[in-house]
């Protein structure tokens, strides 16, 4: 496969998201704009300007009409995908580290940083799906994470729960209606932050990546750890691939240690694991810095990775990827 390199950012990538149809890619970096790209050829559709700090996160609503972003300038913003217009700005006392729309695009959550005496909060706002409508200022729910700050969060199936990953390596489940803490389970090693949380297609389970060098597949309903993927490097991101039962992990040693080692030792590769058998089945090299974010195309045709090197690499899978099967999988297919 020939990856397409997108050089729209001057600084380290922070998050990449595909839209639901898999034709657009949104990328954010520590420079102060969001880029939108066509996934099929890497053409840049446009950039979104307005933030005045590093942008940590981006998410797109299910109809691809609006995107939300969170930044170190203490704001969460809503944008019109088509024109790049800033539709709404919500102000917070600290930086916004994570945003995510719920399944039907009517609610948006934001995770704020713990800093300057403020605790980390998970804030929910209502979204009017109409682009031209006025968006409400009101925060319909605020969950205060007083034990350990939340680093990532997302909406489960039917917007029933809010799942959050914490700095201490635990994952909690909150009731999305009233914000009650239902469960808190330590899934990763103590005090290794959960760095990413991405959902399966139906949002019944999710994958977490952590600095403890493992990624875990966890159910949304009772936070049961289904699978553990062990790697040899701190992980920054993990994604579940549709169509094939794989997961993609991205990581690499911390950016500050990079100059002291060779690119090979830095382990700047996307790692593919079999989702069920937990075996590593291959790696894709290319970045010359740690991978900060990976995203799988919802149509299953490819994936994109963003690194500390400032590049987004969009990959379209070859036939060999789709043909790969375990012996038992092949047997089963032949019997059917």
């Amino acid at each position: 496969m020939r990856p397409v390199l997108l050089a729209g950012h001057e600084r380290a990538l922070t998050q990449i998201r595909y839209n639901l149809d898999g034709d657009l890619i949104f990328s954010t970096a520590k420079d102060q704009h969001i880029c939108a790209w066509y996934a099929h050829n890497g053409e840049r559709l446009g950039t979104y300007h307005g933030h005045v700090g590093a942008i940590w996160t981006v998410d797109v609503d299910p109809t691809s009409t609006m995107i939300a972003s969170g930044s170190a300038d203490n704001t969460m913003r809503l944008w019109d995908v088509k024109t790049g217009k800033n539709l709404k700005t919500w102000e917070f006392p600290t930086a916004v580290k994570r945003v995510e729309f719920n399944e039907d695009g009517t609610k948006l959550l934001g995770v704020t940083e713990k800093r300057m005496g403020y605790l980390s909060n998970i804030v929910v706002v209502d979204i009017n799906p109409d682009v031209n409508a006025e968006q409400s200022d009101e925060k319909i729910l605020t969950i205060v994470c007083d034990e350990s700050k939340a680093t990532v969060a997302g909406w489960s199936y039917l917007s029933k729960f809010i799942i959050a990953g914490h700095e201490d390596g635990s994952v909690s489940q909150y009731d999305a209606k009233n914000g009650d803490l239902l469960y808190n389970v330590s899934v990763h090693e103590l005090n290794t932050p959960v760095t990413d949380l991405q959902w399966s297609n139906d949002r019944t389970y999710f994958i977490t990546a952590s600095k403890d060098k493992t990624a875990k597949l966890i159910t949304a309903k009772d936070l049961e750890v289904l699978k553990t993927y062990v790697s040899d490097t701190p992980l920054n991101s993990a994604a579940i691939t549709p169509k094939k039962d794989f997961v993609i992990l991205g990581g690499g040693q911390a950016a500050m240690d990079v100059t002291t080692t060779s690119a090979r030792q830095g382990k700047f590769e996307a790692r593919f694991y079999h989702k069920i058998f937990e075996d590593e089945i291959g790696r894709v090299r290319g970045h010359f810095g740690p991978l900060n974010t990976v995203a799988a195309d919802p149509t299953g045709k490819g994936y994109a990775s963003g690194g500390e090197d400032g590049y987004v690499r969009v990959h379209m899978f070859d036939k060999g990827y789709f043909d790969f099967m375990y012996e038992v999988e092949r047997d089963r297919q032949n019997r059917l």
């Binding site: 034709d23 559709l45 950039t47 089945i281 291959g282 990959h315």
Partner: protein
């Protein structure tokens, strides 16, 4: 369902403004196999007329997409890309080098084996404190840099092999281990360990420089005149049989012969004959001394 066809690519655009009137108009011919031949003319930087012939096959790639996706493809660009033409802009979008990605069950196992390969690791450890040793004079330099390399034959092969053993490559538990090294894919195997070396007789190792010279059919000729030429030597020795190689040592600066030469025969019988006949032969006011480059061992 809406359909989209491949957009016109900027790379296909021709530089129209460079075509002046006295150039023949570009021609487009349609070939039988469905390709097109485009012949165009232009002037290059030095004012020379250049004819360019290109064969192009156009493939219309039709893709059925969701109508929402098709609508989005027609959107205008905005922000920093507002002034970009249609199609990927070369400053933001480039195509990377090809990456071969084939998922494999054994991926991790292969990698692990390589990491754990005891031979490779043992070799590394042993080579760590191994010093460079000249095969000719046993000094601490590469053989190629030996000051005596033109005047002395290499030290006895058997002795060298023994030195290698002492140096550490050879003290694997048994010969099959060496074979195992050769069989391991991907890891570097020094030439000396390639193939089943343990069972190989000296004569069977072809290709290596010394291997050939030490072949039993090589003569060392000394006391050769400064004026001698390789061809003269070849003519003289060709009388006894087929000569495969003549090496006459010459001074790099003056081009004069240094006084010794090596003659390799295809057949050892011929070499023996030549050795007997030519030893003591008068050649250009000097008496040649001919002996076997290496005593038959």
């Amino acid at each position: 369902m809406a359909t989209t066809t491949k957009r016109h690519d900027w790379a296909d655009d021709e530089d129209v403004d460079e075509v002046s009137t006295d150039l023949p108009p570009p021609q487009t011919l349609t070939n039988k196999d469905g390709t097109k031949t485009i012949i165009s003319y232009r002037y290059n930087d030095e004012g020379q007329k250049v004819k360019t012939t290109r064969r192009v096959r156009y493939i219309t790639h039709t893709e059925k997409v969701n109508p929402r996706v098709a609508e989005r493809k027609a959107w205008g660009k905005f922000g920093d890309s507002a002034r970009d033409p249609a199609g990927p802009a070369p400053d933001t979008t480039t195509v990377g080098e090809n990456i071969i990605f084939r998922p494999s069950v054994n991926w991790r196992k292969d990698q692990k084996e390589e990491d754990k390969d005891p031979n490779a690791q043992a070799m590394k450890d042993k080579l760590k404190d191994k010093k460079v040793k000249c095969r000719i004079c046993n000094g601490e330099h590469f053989t190629a840099r030996c000051p005596y390399k033109d005047t002395m034959a290499p030290a006895d092969e058997a002795a060298a092999a023994a030195a290698d053993l002492a140096g550490g490559m050879g003290d694997e538990p048994a010969a099959p281990a060496a074979g195992g090294v050769g069989a391991k894919k991907g890891s570097y195997v020094p030439p000396a360990l390639r193939g089943d070396r343990a069972g190989t007789a000296a004569g069977e190792r072809l290709g290596s420089k010394f291997g050939e010279r030490d072949d039993l059919a090589t003569l060392r000729v000394t006391n050769v005149s400064e004026m001698a030429e390789e061809q003269e030597l070849r003519d003289m020795f060709e009388r006894f049989g087929r000569v495969t190689r003549v090496f006459l040592a010459k001074d790099r600066e003056t081009g004069l012969a240094k006084g010794f030469a090596f003659i390799s025969f295809a057949d050892r019988e011929d070499a023996v004959k030549a050795c007997n006949k030519m030893d003591g032969f008068g050649f250009k006011h000097l008496i040649l001394r001919v002996e076997f480059a290496k005593k038959a061992a």
